[in-house]
């Protein structure tokens, strides 16, 4: 196990290096000149030249990369070209917002998707099964932005139960914070719940046909124990991995959802940064996102081993 962990951690280093090079190079291909953006109305060639020099935009690309990665390794992601704030600070400010949103979304997804999948499998071919499948189809095919707008319309405008937009930190007022994030979290979690439900259902159906489930019944165990202990334990092993990976896709889903609900999170940060040609911010945010995604992959692998006695060795 420790051996495995060491090997996996060692694999992460080249992956992250490659990702960082990719991020930096793609950035160079974007149209627009950041020096021009920063110079604003003033088109004085001297000023622009000075800005170029100050931000080392006049140096060759590999040199620029070397400076950037040196800073990143010491925790310095550079400075936002737009509001002169250190990128690290911006990330520290916005990341917790998206992490809260993502965690709530994944909890919602698990709470809906897994029970629905189990019920659909156990009651295969009944109204319960059809209902769960219909829900899944609806969940997968409903666009985030449409669902978000409909929820705002219903719960904020018609019923007035929840705020339509904005964000309150969890530490400041947890009730207000949950009220502000529950709708976007549901929008994000909904599609994942559908995916989890489909996978749980098929995994359960397969496991329920297995010989060891028949053995469990032959022992006189109640149907409840047979399903919740003997079948579920085996069916959920792959679902845990899937859940961890879906958490990564949440980060990309957050871009749109944060826009709709005007939540000042990671998604909104990167969209604004891209439009403003705020290179340092884009690079920092994408690098952090990639790191989170890779870490989640590792967590998924470790979790899979922990719940699977055959791999524990």
């Amino acid at each position: 196990m420790l051996n495995f962990l060491a090997r996996r951690l060692a694999q992460i280093v080249p992956t992250l290096f490659f990702v960082s090079v990719l991020i930096f190079s793609l950035q160079q291909l974007l149209p627009g000149d950041p020096a021009l953006v920063m110079a604003g109305e003033e088109r004085d060639p001297n000023v622009i030249e000075q800005i170029r020099h100050q931000y080392r935009l006049d140096r060759p690309v590999p040199v620029q990369y070397a400076y950037w990665i040196k800073g990143v390794l010491s925790g310095d992601f550079g400075e936002s070209l737009r509001n002169k704030m250190p990128v690290r600070e911006l990330i520290a400010q916005k990341l917790p917002v998206t992490l809260q949103l993502g965690s709530m979304a994944i909890i919602i997804a698990f709470l809906i998707g897994i029970p629905a999948g189990i019920i659909a499998a156990v009651k295969k071919g009944t109204a319960w099964d059809y209902g769960a499948n219909f829900f899944a189809l609806w969940g997968i095919s409903t666009p985030n932005f449409w669902l978000g707008i409909m929820l705002i319309f219903l719960f904020s405008i018609e019923l007035g139960w929840l705020p339509a937009s904005g964000y309150v930190p969890l530490t400041e007022n947890w009730r207000a914070s949950l009220a502000a994030t529950i709708m976007p979290a549901f929008v994000l979690g909904n599609a994942i719940a559908a995916v989890l439900m489909r996978h749980t259902r098929s995994a359960m159906l397969q496991v329920l046909e297995s010989d060891y489930v028949r053995t469990a019944r032959a022992k006189g165990l109640s149907e409840r124990t047979v399903i919740l202990k003997h079948a579920m334990r085996n069916a959920l092993t792959p679902i845990i991995t899937l859940g961890a990976l879906e958490l990564g896709t949440l980060l990309s889903g957050a871009v749109l959802t944060e826009q709709i609900f005007s939540i000042p999170g990671f998604g909104k940060l990167i969209v604004d940064a891209v439009f403003n040609r705020d290179y340092a911010v884009v690079q920092g945010v994408v690098l952090v996102t990639a790191t989170i995604y890779i870490t989640l992959n590792l967590v998924a692998d470790v979790a899979y081993i922990l719940v699977n006695p055959r791999l524990r060795g």
Binding site: D211, A218, K219, G220, N308, R310
Partner: protein, 329 residues
């Protein structure tokens, strides 16, 4: 047979409803009984309904697609009409079953100790520690070496033979009155088969449980059983005490089965087989189901289903031409 058997099956009929509303007659009018402490061999080829009969006793057939009628009386209960709760109390406790596939019949996510103590706790209650001690004792009884250590292992660490021993230990956990063994040795290699059979004989002598041994292997039957019932295409075609069945079989199918066992002292050019195919059980024939493959067939055989007739003490056959000796000589 004694006056009140432990289990008595009366006119058991099982039909499966397939996807395209096709109905398969898996078991058709089976009568069987087993006395306390006796061992019945249930013999027949794949698909003859022997496993389905045993699953019906245990109540393990899929309910949505199965139609069962008749009666299975076990110790005052009709198992086909018993409530789920009561059936759960009987299963694993007074009724136990060993399956054909030891490799897949244990749950890979739990230790073997977990899986054995679970049965004990379910039916006997008591402390976890007590159940664990009993589980170790059971593992010792089925000759698993160093059971104190093995009990905490997961199934994937055990060989097929060891897993079947664990399955047997699990089945014996609550001293069942009836043990159903569905081809317990089929998936194992020959040396292991002998060991498992030896173990079953030993345990039978020690526990006094009645056993229904399902197999297609007449060699196994000869070694372990007191009485044999031969099934063909969903029916019992012959039932007799074991010695009698081997010395004087009275159904052409049994004769065929016995003839198809390869023997070392008679080196034949080709292995003996029974010509023809099993009838399609979606539309079973009106007359004798073996008629199409029978060397002694008469016109009358294909007209009506032959009844079970008694040809000796405790010996019945579903053949209108019995006794067969007269035909051969």
């Amino acid at each position: 047979m004694t006056a009140s058997p432990l289990i008595e099956i009366k006119d058991l009929r099982i039909r499966f409803h397939g996807d395209d509303s096709r109905i398969t007659h898996a078991v058709d009018g089976v009568d069987l009984s087993v006395a306390n402490g006796a061992t019945l061999g249930l013999v027949g080829e794949s698909g003859c309904g022997k496993s389905v009969t045993s699953l019906a006793i245990m109540g393990l057939l899929p309910r949505r697609t199965t139609e069962i009628s008749g009666a299975i009386r076990f110790d005052g209960f009709d198992l086909l009409k018993t409530a789920d709760q009561t059936l759960g109390d009987l299963r694993g406790n007074r009724l136990a079953m060993i399956f054909q596939e030891p490799m897949t019949s244990l749950n890979p996510s739990f230790t073997i100790g977990d899986q054995i103590t679970e049965t004990i706790l379910r039916h006997r209650g008591g402390s976890r520690k007590g159940a664990r001690e009993r589980a170790i004792e059971l593992l010792r009884r089925v000759h698993i070496p160093s059971p104190e250590r093995r009990i905490d292992e997961y199934p994937h660490k055990l060989s097929g033979g060891m897993r079947q021993r664990v399955m047997i230990a699990m089945a014996l956990a609550c001293d069942p009155q009836l043990l159903i063994a569905d081809e317990p040795t089929t998936a194992l290699d020959v040396t292991l088969q002998a060991q498992i059979l030896e173990l079953m004989r030993e345990l039978k002598a020690a526990s006094g449980a009645a056993i229904i041994l399902i197999t297609h292997d007449l060699g196994v039957v000869a070694e372990v059983c007191d009485e044999v019932a031969v099934m063909y295409a969903g029916e019992i075609v012959e039932r007799a005490p074991v010695d009698e069945l081997f010395s004087a079989p009275q159904h052409p199918y049994t004769v065929g089965l016995l003839g198809s066992i390869p023997r070392l002292d008679h080196r034949a050019e080709r292995l003996a087989t029974i010509e023809g195919m099993v009838p399609n059980m979606a539309r079973p024939p009106a007359g004798c189901r073996f008629a199409a493959r029978c060397p002694f067939v008469l016109e009358a055989c294909t007209k009506a289903r032959p009844p079970l007739v008694e040809v000796g003490p405790g010996h019945v056959t579903r053949c209108i031409r019995a006794p067969l000796e007269l035909l051969v000589s």
